[in-house]
Symmetry: C2
Subunit: 237 residues, 2 copies
Amino acid sequence: MIIWTDRRGKRMEAPRQPTRRVRQSTTKVDIAGFTPELLPYLGQAAYFQLGMFENLALAISTAPDLTAKEELSAAAGRALAKHQGLVAEIRRRGGEPAEVMAGFSSRLDAFREQTAGADWHELLLSCYLAGGFLDDFFIRLSDGLPGDVGPRVAHLLGQDAGTDVFVTHLKAAIGADPALGSHLALWGRRLVGDTLLVARSALPMEGITADESRIEPVFTELIAAHTRRMDGLGLTA
Amino acid sequence: MIIWTDRRGKRMEAPRQPTRRVRQSTTKVDIAGFTPELLPYLGQAAYFQLGMFENLALAISTAPDLTAKEELSAAAGRALAKHQGLVAEIRRRGGEPAEVMAGFSSRLDAFREQTAGADWHELLLSCYLAGGFLDDFFIRLSDGLPGDVGPRVAHLLGQDAGTDVFVTHLKAAIGADPALGSHLALWGRRLVGDTLLVARSALPMEGITADESRIEPVFTELIAAHTRRMDGLGLTA
Protein backbone atom coordinates (compact mmCIF):
# COMPACT_ATOMS: atom_id res chain seq x y z
CA MET A 1 0.00 0.00 0.00
CA ILE A 2 2.80 2.41 0.88
CA ILE A 3 4.12 2.45 -2.63
CA TRP A 4 0.84 3.84 -4.01
CA THR A 5 0.55 6.35 -1.23
CA ASP A 6 4.02 7.64 -2.01
CA ARG A 7 3.18 8.03 -5.66
CA ARG A 8 0.01 9.95 -5.08
CA GLY A 9 2.05 13.11 -4.90
CA LYS A 10 2.69 12.89 -8.64
CA ARG A 11 -0.90 12.76 -9.67
CA MET A 12 -1.35 16.50 -9.99
CA GLU A 13 1.23 16.70 -12.78
CA ALA A 14 -1.11 15.11 -15.27
CA PRO A 15 -2.89 17.64 -17.48
CA ARG A 16 -6.56 18.29 -16.73
CA GLN A 17 -8.10 16.72 -19.78
CA PRO A 18 -10.76 14.10 -20.34
CA THR A 19 -9.45 10.63 -19.50
CA ARG A 20 -9.45 9.30 -23.03
CA ARG A 21 -7.33 12.13 -24.37
CA VAL A 22 -4.90 11.90 -21.49
CA ARG A 23 -4.41 8.27 -22.25
CA GLN A 24 -3.64 8.95 -25.88
CA SER A 25 -1.29 11.82 -25.23
CA THR A 26 0.78 10.02 -22.61
CA THR A 27 3.91 8.21 -23.73
CA LYS A 28 2.72 4.77 -24.71
CA VAL A 29 3.42 2.23 -22.00
CA ASP A 30 3.91 -1.29 -23.28
CA ILE A 31 1.13 -2.82 -21.25
CA ALA A 32 1.47 -6.32 -22.70
CA GLY A 33 3.58 -7.66 -19.85
CA PHE A 34 1.01 -6.49 -17.33
CA THR A 35 -2.16 -7.74 -18.96
CA PRO A 36 -3.32 -11.07 -17.53
CA GLU A 37 -3.99 -13.99 -19.87
CA LEU A 38 -7.17 -13.51 -21.89
CA LEU A 39 -9.63 -15.66 -19.91
CA PRO A 40 -8.49 -14.45 -16.47
CA TYR A 41 -8.68 -10.88 -17.79
CA LEU A 42 -12.23 -11.40 -19.05
CA GLY A 43 -13.22 -13.26 -15.88
CA GLN A 44 -12.21 -10.52 -13.52
CA ALA A 45 -13.50 -7.70 -15.69
CA ALA A 46 -16.84 -9.56 -16.03
CA TYR A 47 -17.09 -10.20 -12.31
CA PHE A 48 -16.20 -6.61 -11.52
CA GLN A 49 -19.02 -5.38 -13.79
CA LEU A 50 -21.45 -7.78 -12.12
CA GLY A 51 -20.44 -6.28 -8.77
CA MET A 52 -20.94 -2.76 -10.16
CA PHE A 53 -24.36 -3.85 -11.29
CA GLU A 54 -25.15 -5.20 -7.81
CA ASN A 55 -24.00 -1.93 -6.23
CA LEU A 56 -26.16 0.04 -8.61
CA ALA A 57 -29.13 -2.22 -7.86
CA LEU A 58 -28.56 -1.52 -4.16
CA ALA A 59 -28.41 2.21 -4.93
CA ILE A 60 -31.73 1.88 -6.78
CA SER A 61 -33.33 0.10 -3.82
CA THR A 62 -32.18 2.78 -1.39
CA ALA A 63 -32.69 5.81 -3.66
CA PRO A 64 -34.54 8.68 -1.97
CA ASP A 65 -36.89 9.33 -4.89
CA LEU A 66 -38.26 7.83 -8.07
CA THR A 67 -36.32 10.12 -10.39
CA ALA A 68 -33.01 8.94 -8.91
CA LYS A 69 -34.26 5.33 -9.05
CA GLU A 70 -35.09 5.76 -12.71
CA GLU A 71 -31.76 7.38 -13.62
CA LEU A 72 -29.83 4.71 -11.72
CA SER A 73 -31.72 1.94 -13.49
CA ALA A 74 -30.21 3.16 -16.76
CA ALA A 75 -26.71 3.05 -15.21
CA ALA A 76 -27.40 -0.45 -13.85
CA GLY A 77 -28.49 -1.54 -17.32
CA ARG A 78 -25.19 -0.34 -18.77
CA ALA A 79 -23.12 -2.19 -16.13
CA LEU A 80 -25.15 -5.31 -16.86
CA ALA A 81 -24.61 -4.89 -20.61
CA LYS A 82 -20.85 -4.64 -19.99
CA HIS A 83 -20.95 -7.77 -17.84
CA GLN A 84 -22.94 -9.65 -20.47
CA GLY A 85 -20.66 -8.49 -23.26
CA LEU A 86 -17.62 -9.81 -21.36
CA VAL A 87 -19.43 -13.07 -20.60
CA ALA A 88 -20.14 -13.42 -24.33
CA GLU A 89 -16.40 -13.04 -25.02
CA ILE A 90 -15.68 -15.77 -22.47
CA ARG A 91 -18.19 -18.14 -24.11
CA ARG A 92 -16.85 -17.31 -27.57
CA ARG A 93 -13.56 -18.81 -26.40
CA GLY A 94 -15.22 -21.92 -25.00
CA GLY A 95 -14.91 -20.74 -21.39
CA GLU A 96 -17.59 -21.39 -18.78
CA PRO A 97 -18.24 -17.91 -17.28
CA ALA A 98 -18.85 -19.15 -13.72
CA GLU A 99 -15.59 -21.11 -13.74
CA VAL A 100 -13.59 -18.32 -15.32
CA MET A 101 -14.91 -15.77 -12.80
CA ALA A 102 -14.61 -18.07 -9.77
CA GLY A 103 -10.98 -17.32 -8.98
CA PHE A 104 -11.72 -13.61 -8.58
CA SER A 105 -15.00 -13.68 -6.69
CA SER A 106 -13.72 -13.64 -3.12
CA ARG A 107 -11.28 -10.78 -3.71
CA LEU A 108 -13.83 -8.70 -5.63
CA ASP A 109 -16.62 -9.52 -3.13
CA ALA A 110 -14.37 -8.27 -0.33
CA PHE A 111 -13.61 -5.12 -2.33
CA ARG A 112 -17.31 -4.53 -2.90
CA GLU A 113 -18.00 -4.95 0.79
CA GLN A 114 -15.21 -2.52 1.76
CA THR A 115 -16.44 0.08 -0.70
CA ALA A 116 -20.23 -0.26 -0.46
CA GLY A 117 -20.39 2.56 2.05
CA ALA A 118 -22.67 3.23 4.98
CA ASP A 119 -25.35 5.18 3.14
CA TRP A 120 -26.67 6.16 -0.25
CA HIS A 121 -24.21 9.00 -0.85
CA GLU A 122 -21.18 6.88 0.03
CA LEU A 123 -22.47 4.13 -2.26
CA LEU A 124 -23.04 6.60 -5.08
CA LEU A 125 -19.51 7.96 -4.68
CA SER A 126 -18.14 4.38 -4.79
CA CYS A 127 -20.03 3.61 -7.98
CA TYR A 128 -18.68 6.80 -9.52
CA LEU A 129 -15.06 6.66 -8.33
CA ALA A 130 -14.26 2.95 -8.12
CA GLY A 131 -16.38 2.24 -11.19
CA GLY A 132 -14.70 4.99 -13.20
CA PHE A 133 -11.22 4.01 -12.05
CA LEU A 134 -11.58 0.30 -12.78
CA ASP A 135 -13.36 0.82 -16.09
CA ASP A 136 -10.38 2.94 -17.14
CA PHE A 137 -7.99 0.36 -15.72
CA PHE A 138 -9.50 -2.55 -17.62
CA ILE A 139 -9.68 -0.47 -20.81
CA ARG A 140 -5.99 0.33 -20.38
CA LEU A 141 -5.08 -3.34 -19.83
CA SER A 142 -7.09 -4.35 -22.90
CA ASP A 143 -4.26 -2.91 -25.05
CA GLY A 144 -2.28 -6.01 -24.14
CA LEU A 145 -4.93 -8.54 -25.20
CA PRO A 146 -4.27 -10.68 -28.27
CA GLY A 147 -6.10 -10.34 -31.60
CA ASP A 148 -9.12 -8.10 -32.01
CA VAL A 149 -10.59 -8.72 -28.57
CA GLY A 150 -8.76 -5.73 -27.03
CA PRO A 151 -10.43 -3.01 -29.12
CA ARG A 152 -13.78 -4.78 -28.78
CA VAL A 153 -13.53 -4.89 -24.98
CA ALA A 154 -12.27 -1.29 -24.83
CA HIS A 155 -15.27 -0.18 -26.88
CA LEU A 156 -17.64 -2.13 -24.62
CA LEU A 157 -16.17 -0.76 -21.39
CA GLY A 158 -15.76 2.75 -22.77
CA GLN A 159 -19.45 3.20 -23.49
CA ASP A 160 -21.10 6.09 -21.74
CA ALA A 161 -21.23 4.96 -18.16
CA GLY A 162 -24.19 7.20 -17.38
CA THR A 163 -22.25 9.00 -14.66
CA ASP A 164 -24.39 12.15 -14.81
CA VAL A 165 -26.70 10.67 -12.21
CA PHE A 166 -23.82 10.36 -9.71
CA VAL A 167 -22.49 13.85 -10.34
CA THR A 168 -25.92 15.50 -10.21
CA HIS A 169 -27.05 13.90 -6.97
CA LEU A 170 -23.68 14.14 -5.20
CA LYS A 171 -23.14 17.79 -6.14
CA ALA A 172 -26.64 18.71 -4.99
CA ALA A 173 -26.18 16.94 -1.66
CA ILE A 174 -22.70 18.39 -1.09
CA GLY A 175 -23.92 21.87 -2.01
CA ALA A 176 -26.69 21.62 0.56
CA ASP A 177 -24.45 20.31 3.35
CA PRO A 178 -20.75 21.27 3.54
CA ALA A 179 -20.16 18.72 6.31
CA LEU A 180 -21.22 16.00 3.88
CA GLY A 181 -18.56 17.34 1.49
CA SER A 182 -15.76 16.86 4.04
CA HIS A 183 -17.12 13.44 4.92
CA LEU A 184 -17.29 12.35 1.28
CA ALA A 185 -13.81 13.74 0.54
CA LEU A 186 -12.46 11.39 3.21
CA TRP A 187 -14.49 8.53 1.80
CA GLY A 188 -13.18 9.26 -1.69
CA ARG A 189 -9.58 9.14 -0.42
CA ARG A 190 -10.21 5.80 1.22
CA LEU A 191 -11.85 4.51 -1.95
CA VAL A 192 -8.86 5.31 -4.13
CA GLY A 193 -6.61 3.35 -1.77
CA ASP A 194 -8.80 0.25 -1.86
CA THR A 195 -9.30 0.60 -5.60
CA LEU A 196 -5.58 0.84 -6.28
CA LEU A 197 -5.00 -2.29 -4.24
CA VAL A 198 -7.59 -4.28 -6.12
CA ALA A 199 -6.27 -3.01 -9.46
CA ARG A 200 -2.74 -3.93 -8.52
CA SER A 201 -3.81 -7.40 -7.43
CA ALA A 202 -5.40 -7.89 -10.87
CA LEU A 203 -1.98 -7.72 -12.49
CA PRO A 204 0.09 -10.88 -12.91
CA MET A 205 2.69 -10.99 -10.14
CA GLU A 206 5.64 -11.79 -12.37
CA GLY A 207 5.02 -8.76 -14.60
CA ILE A 208 4.81 -6.41 -11.64
CA THR A 209 7.82 -7.62 -9.72
CA ALA A 210 9.97 -7.81 -12.85
CA ASP A 211 9.60 -4.16 -13.74
CA GLU A 212 7.56 -2.17 -11.30
CA SER A 213 8.47 1.21 -12.72
CA ARG A 214 7.03 0.44 -16.15
CA ILE A 215 3.47 0.18 -14.85
CA GLU A 216 3.74 3.39 -12.84
CA PRO A 217 2.69 5.82 -15.61
CA VAL A 218 -0.54 3.86 -16.07
CA PHE A 219 -1.48 4.35 -12.43
CA THR A 220 -0.44 8.00 -12.59
CA GLU A 221 -2.95 8.51 -15.40
CA LEU A 222 -5.68 6.62 -13.58
CA ILE A 223 -5.14 8.63 -10.40
CA ALA A 224 -5.20 11.87 -12.39
CA ALA A 225 -8.59 10.88 -13.76
CA HIS A 226 -9.74 10.05 -10.22
CA THR A 227 -8.61 13.47 -9.03
CA ARG A 228 -10.57 15.14 -11.81
CA ARG A 229 -13.68 13.25 -10.72
CA MET A 230 -13.18 14.40 -7.14
CA ASP A 231 -12.54 18.00 -8.26
CA GLY A 232 -15.67 17.92 -10.40
CA LEU A 233 -17.66 17.23 -7.25
CA GLY A 234 -15.89 19.99 -5.36
CA LEU A 235 -14.04 17.44 -3.21
CA THR A 236 -10.34 17.64 -2.35
CA ALA A 237 -8.67 14.44 -3.49
CA MET B 1 -59.98 -11.32 -0.39
CA ILE B 2 -62.69 -13.90 0.27
CA ILE B 3 -64.03 -13.63 -3.22
CA TRP B 4 -60.73 -14.83 -4.72
CA THR B 5 -60.39 -17.64 -2.24
CA ASP B 6 -63.86 -18.90 -3.08
CA ARG B 7 -63.07 -18.88 -6.76
CA ARG B 8 -59.88 -20.81 -6.42
CA GLY B 9 -61.89 -24.02 -6.57
CA LYS B 10 -62.52 -23.41 -10.24
CA ARG B 11 -58.91 -23.16 -11.23
CA MET B 12 -58.42 -26.86 -11.98
CA GLU B 13 -61.01 -26.76 -14.77
CA ALA B 14 -58.69 -24.88 -17.06
CA PRO B 15 -56.89 -27.14 -19.55
CA ARG B 16 -53.21 -27.80 -18.89
CA GLN B 17 -51.70 -25.92 -21.75
CA PRO B 18 -49.08 -23.22 -22.05
CA THR B 19 -50.43 -19.87 -20.86
CA ARG B 20 -50.47 -18.18 -24.24
CA ARG B 21 -52.56 -20.89 -25.84
CA VAL B 22 -54.99 -20.97 -22.93
CA ARG B 23 -55.48 -17.26 -23.28
CA GLN B 24 -56.26 -17.54 -26.97
CA SER B 25 -58.64 -20.46 -26.60
CA THR B 26 -60.68 -18.89 -23.81
CA THR B 27 -63.83 -17.01 -24.73
CA LYS B 28 -62.69 -13.46 -25.33
CA VAL B 29 -63.42 -11.23 -22.38
CA ASP B 30 -63.94 -7.59 -23.26
CA ILE B 31 -61.18 -6.25 -21.09
CA ALA B 32 -61.53 -2.64 -22.15
CA GLY B 33 -63.61 -1.61 -19.16
CA PHE B 34 -61.02 -3.00 -16.79
CA THR B 35 -57.86 -1.57 -18.31
CA PRO B 36 -56.70 1.59 -16.53
CA GLU B 37 -56.05 4.76 -18.53
CA LEU B 38 -52.89 4.51 -20.64
CA LEU B 39 -50.42 6.44 -18.46
CA PRO B 40 -51.51 4.87 -15.16
CA TYR B 41 -51.33 1.47 -16.85
CA LEU B 42 -47.80 2.13 -18.09
CA GLY B 43 -46.77 3.65 -14.76
CA GLN B 44 -47.75 0.66 -12.68
CA ALA B 45 -46.47 -1.90 -15.17
CA ALA B 46 -43.14 -0.01 -15.34
CA TYR B 47 -42.84 0.24 -11.58
CA PHE B 48 -43.72 -3.43 -11.18
CA GLN B 49 -40.94 -4.40 -13.60
CA LEU B 50 -38.50 -2.19 -11.71
CA GLY B 51 -39.46 -4.04 -8.53
CA MET B 52 -38.98 -7.38 -10.28
CA PHE B 53 -35.56 -6.17 -11.34
CA GLU B 54 -34.74 -5.19 -7.73
CA ASN B 55 -35.88 -8.61 -6.51
CA LEU B 56 -33.72 -10.32 -9.11
CA ALA B 57 -30.76 -8.14 -8.15
CA LEU B 58 -31.28 -9.23 -4.54
CA ALA B 59 -31.44 -12.86 -5.71
CA ILE B 60 -28.14 -12.32 -7.55
CA SER B 61 -26.50 -10.87 -4.44
CA THR B 62 -27.63 -13.79 -2.30
CA ALA B 63 -27.13 -16.57 -4.87
CA PRO B 64 -25.26 -19.60 -3.52
CA ASP B 65 -22.96 -19.95 -6.53
CA LEU B 66 -21.64 -18.12 -9.55
CA THR B 67 -23.61 -20.15 -12.08
CA ALA B 68 -26.88 -19.14 -10.45
CA LYS B 69 -25.64 -15.52 -10.21
CA GLU B 70 -24.84 -15.56 -13.91
CA GLU B 71 -28.19 -17.07 -14.94
CA LEU B 72 -30.10 -14.62 -12.75
CA SER B 73 -28.23 -11.69 -14.23
CA ALA B 74 -29.78 -12.55 -17.60
CA ALA B 75 -33.25 -12.61 -16.01
CA ALA B 76 -32.55 -9.27 -14.29
CA GLY B 77 -31.51 -7.82 -17.63
CA ARG B 78 -34.82 -8.86 -19.15
CA ALA B 79 -36.85 -7.31 -16.31
CA LEU B 80 -34.85 -4.12 -16.72
CA ALA B 81 -35.43 -4.15 -20.49
CA LYS B 82 -39.18 -4.46 -19.86
CA HIS B 83 -39.05 -1.58 -17.38
CA GLN B 84 -37.09 0.58 -19.81
CA GLY B 85 -39.41 -0.28 -22.70
CA LEU B 86 -42.42 0.81 -20.63
CA VAL B 87 -40.61 3.98 -19.54
CA ALA B 88 -39.94 4.72 -23.21
CA GLU B 89 -43.69 4.41 -23.90
CA ILE B 90 -44.39 6.86 -21.06
CA ARG B 91 -41.90 9.38 -22.46
CA ARG B 92 -43.29 8.93 -25.98
CA ARG B 93 -46.58 10.28 -24.60
CA GLY B 94 -44.90 13.23 -22.91
CA GLY B 95 -45.15 11.66 -19.45
CA GLU B 96 -42.44 12.04 -16.82
CA PRO B 97 -41.76 8.44 -15.70
CA ALA B 98 -41.10 9.28 -12.03
CA GLU B 99 -44.37 11.23 -11.81
CA VAL B 100 -46.39 8.62 -13.65
CA MET B 101 -45.05 5.82 -11.44
CA ALA B 102 -45.30 7.78 -8.18
CA GLY B 103 -48.93 6.94 -7.43
CA PHE B 104 -48.18 3.21 -7.43
CA SER B 105 -44.89 3.09 -5.59
CA SER B 106 -46.12 2.66 -2.02
CA ARG B 107 -48.56 -0.13 -2.91
CA LEU B 108 -46.04 -1.98 -5.06
CA ASP B 109 -43.23 -1.43 -2.53
CA ALA B 110 -45.43 -2.97 0.14
CA PHE B 111 -46.21 -5.89 -2.17
CA ARG B 112 -42.53 -6.41 -2.84
CA GLU B 113 -41.79 -6.38 0.88
CA GLN B 114 -44.56 -8.91 1.58
CA THR B 115 -43.35 -11.23 -1.15
CA ALA B 116 -39.56 -10.90 -0.90
CA GLY B 117 -39.36 -14.00 1.28
CA ALA B 118 -37.07 -14.94 4.10
CA ASP B 119 -34.39 -16.69 2.03
CA TRP B 120 -33.12 -17.29 -1.47
CA HIS B 121 -35.60 -20.06 -2.34
CA GLU B 122 -38.61 -18.05 -1.21
CA LEU B 123 -37.35 -15.06 -3.19
CA LEU B 124 -36.81 -17.24 -6.28
CA LEU B 125 -40.34 -18.63 -5.98
CA SER B 126 -41.71 -15.08 -5.68
CA CYS B 127 -39.85 -13.96 -8.79
CA TYR B 128 -41.22 -16.96 -10.67
CA LEU B 129 -44.83 -16.96 -9.43
CA ALA B 130 -45.62 -13.29 -8.80
CA GLY B 131 -43.53 -12.26 -11.80
CA GLY B 132 -45.23 -14.78 -14.08
CA PHE B 133 -48.70 -13.94 -12.80
CA LEU B 134 -48.35 -10.17 -13.11
CA ASP B 135 -46.60 -10.33 -16.49
CA ASP B 136 -49.59 -12.35 -17.74
CA PHE B 137 -51.97 -9.95 -16.01
CA PHE B 138 -50.48 -6.82 -17.61
CA ILE B 139 -50.35 -8.57 -21.00
CA ARG B 140 -54.02 -9.43 -20.61
CA LEU B 141 -54.94 -5.84 -19.67
CA SER B 142 -52.97 -4.49 -22.63
CA ASP B 143 -55.80 -5.70 -24.90
CA GLY B 144 -57.81 -2.76 -23.63
CA LEU B 145 -55.18 -0.10 -24.43
CA PRO B 146 -55.88 2.37 -27.25
CA GLY B 147 -54.06 2.38 -30.62
CA ASP B 148 -51.04 0.21 -31.31
CA VAL B 149 -49.53 0.47 -27.83
CA GLY B 150 -51.34 -2.67 -26.59
CA PRO B 151 -49.68 -5.14 -29.00
CA ARG B 152 -46.33 -3.42 -28.49
CA VAL B 153 -46.55 -3.71 -24.71
CA ALA B 154 -47.79 -7.32 -24.94
CA HIS B 155 -44.82 -8.17 -27.12
CA LEU B 156 -42.42 -6.47 -24.69
CA LEU B 157 -43.86 -8.20 -21.62
CA GLY B 158 -44.28 -11.53 -23.37
CA GLN B 159 -40.60 -11.88 -24.16
CA ASP B 160 -38.93 -14.93 -22.76
CA ALA B 161 -38.76 -14.20 -19.08
CA GLY B 162 -35.79 -16.51 -18.57
CA THR B 163 -37.69 -18.57 -16.05
CA ASP B 164 -35.56 -21.70 -16.56
CA VAL B 165 -33.23 -20.50 -13.84
CA PHE B 166 -36.08 -20.46 -11.29
CA VAL B 167 -37.41 -23.88 -12.27
CA THR B 168 -33.98 -25.52 -12.36
CA HIS B 169 -32.82 -24.27 -8.98
CA LEU B 170 -36.14 -24.71 -7.20
CA LYS B 171 -36.69 -28.24 -8.53
CA ALA B 172 -33.19 -29.27 -7.53
CA ALA B 173 -33.60 -27.85 -4.02
CA ILE B 174 -37.07 -29.38 -3.55
CA GLY B 175 -35.86 -32.74 -4.87
CA ALA B 176 -33.04 -32.74 -2.33
CA ASP B 177 -35.25 -31.74 0.61
CA PRO B 178 -38.95 -32.73 0.74
CA ALA B 179 -39.52 -30.51 3.78
CA LEU B 180 -38.51 -27.54 1.64
CA GLY B 181 -41.18 -28.63 -0.85
CA SER B 182 -43.95 -28.43 1.78
CA HIS B 183 -42.60 -25.12 2.99
CA LEU B 184 -42.48 -23.63 -0.51
CA ALA B 185 -45.95 -24.97 -1.34
CA LEU B 186 -47.29 -22.92 1.58
CA TRP B 187 -45.27 -19.92 0.47
CA GLY B 188 -46.64 -20.29 -3.08
CA ARG B 189 -50.21 -20.29 -1.77
CA ARG B 190 -49.57 -17.15 0.22
CA LEU B 191 -47.96 -15.52 -2.82
CA VAL B 192 -50.97 -16.09 -5.05
CA GLY B 193 -53.20 -14.41 -2.47
CA ASP B 194 -51.01 -11.31 -2.23
CA THR B 195 -50.55 -11.25 -6.01
CA LEU B 196 -54.28 -11.42 -6.67
CA LEU B 197 -54.86 -8.54 -4.29
CA VAL B 198 -52.27 -6.35 -5.97
CA ALA B 199 -53.63 -7.27 -9.42
CA ARG B 200 -57.16 -6.44 -8.34
CA SER B 201 -56.09 -3.12 -6.91
CA ALA B 202 -54.53 -2.27 -10.27
CA LEU B 203 -57.98 -2.27 -11.88
CA PRO B 204 -60.08 0.90 -11.94
CA MET B 205 -62.66 0.68 -9.16
CA GLU B 206 -65.62 1.73 -11.27
CA GLY B 207 -65.00 -1.06 -13.83
CA ILE B 208 -64.79 -3.71 -11.14
CA THR B 209 -67.78 -2.74 -9.08
CA ALA B 210 -69.95 -2.21 -12.16
CA ASP B 211 -69.57 -5.74 -13.44
CA GLU B 212 -67.49 -7.97 -11.23
CA SER B 213 -68.44 -11.19 -13.00
CA ARG B 214 -67.01 -10.05 -16.34
CA ILE B 215 -63.44 -9.91 -15.03
CA GLU B 216 -63.67 -13.32 -13.37
CA PRO B 217 -62.65 -15.43 -16.40
CA VAL B 218 -59.44 -13.42 -16.67
CA PHE B 219 -58.46 -14.30 -13.11
CA THR B 220 -59.48 -17.90 -13.65
CA GLU B 221 -56.98 -18.10 -16.52
CA LEU B 222 -54.25 -16.40 -14.54
CA ILE B 223 -54.77 -18.74 -11.58
CA ALA B 224 -54.71 -21.74 -13.90
CA ALA B 225 -51.32 -20.61 -15.20
CA HIS B 226 -50.15 -20.14 -11.61
CA THR B 227 -51.26 -23.70 -10.77
CA ARG B 228 -49.31 -25.05 -13.73
CA ARG B 229 -46.20 -23.26 -12.49
CA MET B 230 -46.67 -24.80 -9.03
CA ASP B 231 -47.31 -28.25 -10.54
CA GLY B 232 -44.21 -27.94 -12.71
CA LEU B 233 -42.17 -27.57 -9.51
CA GLY B 234 -43.93 -30.54 -7.91
CA LEU B 235 -45.76 -28.24 -5.48
CA THR B 236 -49.44 -28.55 -4.60
CA ALA B 237 -51.14 -25.25 -5.35
